[in-house]
Amino acid sequence: MTAYVFKRLVALIPVLLGLSIIVFAIMALIPGDPALAILGAYATPENVARLNRQLGLDQPLPLQYLTWLGNILTGDFGRSYSLNRPVIDEVLERFQATLVLAGAALVLCTLWGVLAGIVAAVRQYGWADRIVTFIVLVGISIPSFWLGLLLILLFAVELRWLPASGMYSVYGGGDLPDLLRHLVLPAVTLSAVAAGVIARLTRSAMLEVLRQDFIRTARAKGVGERGVVYRHALKAAMVSVVPVIGVQAGFVLSGAVYIETVFQWPGIGRMLVNAISTRDILLVQGGVLVVAASYVLFNLCADVVQHLLDPRVQA
């Protein structure tokens, strides 16, 4: 097992390098002169040239990349000019908030996705199956930012059960129950799409597994239907569901961009949207890099869990 994890970690290096090249390349493509952007339209040509030299922008691109990579690896993502603080500080702070939201959404979508998938498979072609199938379709077709607004309208404006926005109450908040109350609506919204995808997949994986020979063996032993479905079939089906949960993490992180905007959640998605509006390129760069890297890491975890589940493929 450790050997497998190690192998996967080593294989991660080229992927992360690739990510960094793509991010660097995208930023290098930006039209216009960054120094000019920083100094403003009234800068003298000498000042621009000096800053360019300072920033290393007069070097050839591959060299610029290496310098940049070296900085990144030492935790230096540059300085955000719009916030006037180090990018890394801002990114890490915001990323924590996103992790709370995305983590909760991921747990939720796994929970109901798998449950709904099982129910649909067990009651295949029955009413429960049809209802689940329909909800799943709605879930993957609904614009999440719209769903968020509807939920705010219902639960925050009409019923006044839950707060409409933010992560903590401005007055007297700050503790865990307060956080949870703020978390409910955005997390539920964010989990909708991914839950639909997971439910679909669980249903088809269960149906696939239920036709396998070892299920017949379990029945021939006299194992009850419950044991057959929940012990034998579910365990086998999870092998193909777990990696999809890993992929869903990407959709959840993506969806967080909308949901954070809708619910004014102080996460990295909202930070990115603001940074794009203010053309704070270094901030965008840092944010994108950190989220992408964490997504890659999460997929690795999903693969490891899959290998733990299935002894056949253990390295």
């Binding site: 992927v15 690739g18 990510l19 793509i22 995208i26 498979a121 067990v122 295949q124 072609y125 049809r130 379709l137 709605v138 993957i140 077709s141 609904i142 614009p143 930012f145 719209w146 607004l149 509807l150 309208l153 404006v157 149906l207 696939e208 239920l210 036709r211 070892f214 017949r216 063996t217 379990a218 029945r219 021939a220 032993k221 006299g222 009850g224 239907e225 044991g227 034998h232 365990k235 993490a249 990407g250 959709f251 993506s254 969806g255 961009v257 909308y258 809708v262 990115l272 949207v273 940074a275 794009i276 509006s277 965008v284 994108v288 992408a292 997504y295 890659v296 299935d310 002894p311 056949r312």
Partner: protein
């Protein structure tokens, strides 16, 4: 799928008819999707011709009118603009942008995919690595990075969304291209000296086009959502131009006092995407042959039972198991495959009965039918009884039957690699078998499991109990299968080709073991095989099956030395040396009849040298040809009575 309609199935076994109904329902939903989508597109097309307010004309006096106001059917927004007009123009824009993005992604992705797939080798490798890299980004993040570079704007959002979706196309289309690139017609085109571009355009492209179209239909909904999303964030369309996403984004600020400004555009996006998804799903389902064949249906806990004929024979009192006119069918659509036809047999205490036949003769289905283990749908037990000490197993409920399975009647299956659960240790699987029928602590059951492993002569049973099936050799796995069958000391064991997957030496060891164990315990065994060598080694009596019927039965030695049925004769002639393993059924010229088109008369007539009109006239009955011997033939080769 009409034959099973109106027949009450046992609990939880859906009749095939219901799946047909579901297909229609699915397609009805798909039809609904089509209608909605078509109307939206049509409306979007004719929008400029309709007598609408100008979408961007502001009228501060008419701010935030609610829906159904005079002159403004859906009300107005914060600048007094008519929402209906804005919705229709916004829909037009959103559709145009989403569809354009789809076409751009499809074009670039397909070019990459076809080039990579056709060229292969290093080019393919490099291109796909790059694609994988792009896919390592969470979806929207890449789009955001691109918009960050290009700057906010609807056109830039379109480009970003298209780029983000290129990898999907590239991957799918590369896969399709790789699939056809080595087919003859491509080789022929290459040999004919056609240029590379012409081959790609004239031979490859038409063949991968369906994949491109399918990928487009599955991604277009997403792309509409994504472009709307970017506009919602303020990164797409900029005022005064408005697509559905930016209308929603603007309306969001008025959520508290004028919710209609934001929920209407969202509703339209939802309708568009939902109708696309409905349509796509419906068409995909309708095209899926597995769904039609019921191959995706969940097998019920027990085979569906729909008996028209309950058998007639009086069960022999002394026989623990007797099967009476058992008939099992596979109902696929309107087609019925007659797998097992009125099979009768009985198994005495401690007796071993071999059932021999070619694959497809119905021997395994007979074995599985005994405990209603045939997968259903599509399997249906259509007649007969299975009597265990005189009580009919087939009239039991699934719950009652569960108590019989593994306790009174246990199974040993072929190929334990697929019949043992790959993710549980063999010890756990044995414990489960034990605890399914006996109240026992886990620890005691584990000790019992180790004892069973020892009994089937697995060396180091304590250690092996902790092994997973794939960690054992084929012979060891089959011993585990045997141990599992013995777990509750059943009176009857049904062994379905338990040695077929093993090589000859291991096969002999396993057979010896089984023979010894059954004699020690006085267990009756129904032994399914296609190997006469195996039958001679272990079976007291043998029943020969052909096309779902037993054609001859009698004591093993007599049948073997003096077969009565022409089919048995040929089978035996095919065995070069008894016990040497593989016999060659192919030595009999011709093929058995298809199970969905069985002849009225003798099923063997097409391959039989003695066949004449009498053989084909009608069903041939089993005749007693000597004491304890029966054959289904009008002119048996042995016996006279």
């Amino acid at each position: 799928m009409t034959s099973a309609a109106g027949i009450a199935p046992p609990a939880e076994a859906p009749p095939p008819a219901r799946s047909a109904w579901r297909l229609i329902l699915r397609n009805r939903l798909a039809a609904a999707g089509l209608v909605v989508l078509a109307s939206i597109i049509l409306l979007a097309l004719v929008t400029p011709l309709l007598p609408l307010h100008p979408p961007n004309a502001t009228a501060p006096a008419n701010r935030l009118l609610p829906p159904f106001s005079d002159g403004h059917l859906l009300g107005t927004d914060h600048l007094g603009r008519d929402i209906l007009a804005r919705l229709m123009w916004g829909t037009r824009l959103s559709l145009a942008v989403g569809i354009s993005a789809t076409f751009i992604a499809a074009l670039i992705g397909s070019v990459i995919g076809i080039l990579a797939g056709y060229t292969g080798g290093r080019t393919d490798n490099t291109m796909m690595r790059g694609i994988d890299m792009l896919m390592a980004f969470p979806y929207i993040l890449l789009a955001l990075a691109i918009v960050a570079v290009l700057g906010p704007g609807l056109f830039n959002a379109l480009i970003a969304v298209a780029i983000v979706n290129i990898p999907f196309f590239a991957r799918n289309i590369r896969g399709a291209t790789v699939g056809i690139v080595h087919r003859e017609f491509i080789d022929a085109a290459r040999l004919s000296g056609k240029g590379r571009l012409r081959i790609l355009a004239a031979d490859v492209l038409p063949n991968v086009l369906p994949v491109i179209v399918i990928t487009m239909s599955t991604t277009v909904g997403w792309m509409i959502l994504e472009t709307a999303g970017l506009s919602f964030l303020g990164l797409g369309s900029q005022p005064p131009q408005a697509d559905l996403g930016s209308m929603l984004g603007e309306g969001r600020r008025l959520l508290m006092n004028a919710p209609h400004v934001s929920y209407l555009p969202g509703l339209v996006i939802f309708l568009i995407v939902m109708s696309i998804n409905l349509l796509g799903d419906g068409v995909r389902d309708a095209l899926d042959p597995r769904l039609r064949a019921g191959a995706l249906a969940r097998p019920a806990p027990m085979t569906a039972i729909d008996r028209t004929d309950m058998g007639t024979d009086v069960a022999p009192v002394d026989a623990p198991l007797s099967v009476d006119h058992l008939t099992t069918q596979f109902r696929l659509g309107s087609d019925t495959h007659h797998a097992v036809n009125e099979v009768s047999l009985s198994l005495g205490r401690g007796e071993c009965l071999g059932v021999i036949g070619e694959s497809g003769s119905g021997k395994s289905v007979t074995a599985l039918s005994l405990a209603a283990l045939v997968a259903s749908p599509p399997g249906v037990i259509a007649g007969g009884r299975v009597l265990l000490h005189g009580s009919d197993l087939l009239s039991k409920s699934a719950r009652e039957l569960r108590k019989v399975r593994g306790r009174d009647v246990a199974y040993i299956f072929q190929d334990p690699l697929s019949t043992l659960h790959p993710q549980f240790t063999v010890g756990d699987q044995l414990v489960e078998a034990i605890r399914a029928h006996r109240h026992m602590s886990r620890a005691a059951a584990w000790a019992e499991a180790v004892r069973l492993l020892d009994l089937v002569r697995i060396p180091n049973p304590r250690g092996r109990a902790r092994a997973y099936p794939h960690e054992l050799s084929g012979g060891m796995r089959q011993r585990v299968g045997i141990a599992m069958a013995l777990a509750n000391a059943p009176e009857i064991i049904v062994a379905d080709e338990p040695t077929t997957a093993l090589d000859v030496t291991v096969q002999a060891q396993v057979l010896d073991l089984m023979d010894e164990l059954r004699r020690d315990r006085d267990t009756a065994v129904l032994f399914i095989t296609h190997d006469f060598g195996v039958v001679t080694q272990i079976c007291d009596r043998v029943a020969v099956m052909y096309a779902g019927r037993i054609v001859e039965t009698g004591p093993t030695r007599q049948v073997l030395e003096d077969p009565a049925h022409p089919y048995t004769r040929k089978l035996i002639d095919c065995v070069p040396v008894l016990g040497s393993g593989r016999r060659r059924f192919d030595a009999i010229s011709g093929l058995p009849p298809a199970a969905n088109r069985l002849p009225r008369g003798c099923a063997f007539a097409e391959r039989c040298e003695l066949a004449d009109a009498a053989c084909r006239a009608g069903p041939i009955a089993m005749h007693e040809i000597a004491a304890g011997r029966q054959a289904r033939c009008v002119r048996p080769l042995a016996g006279t009575s």
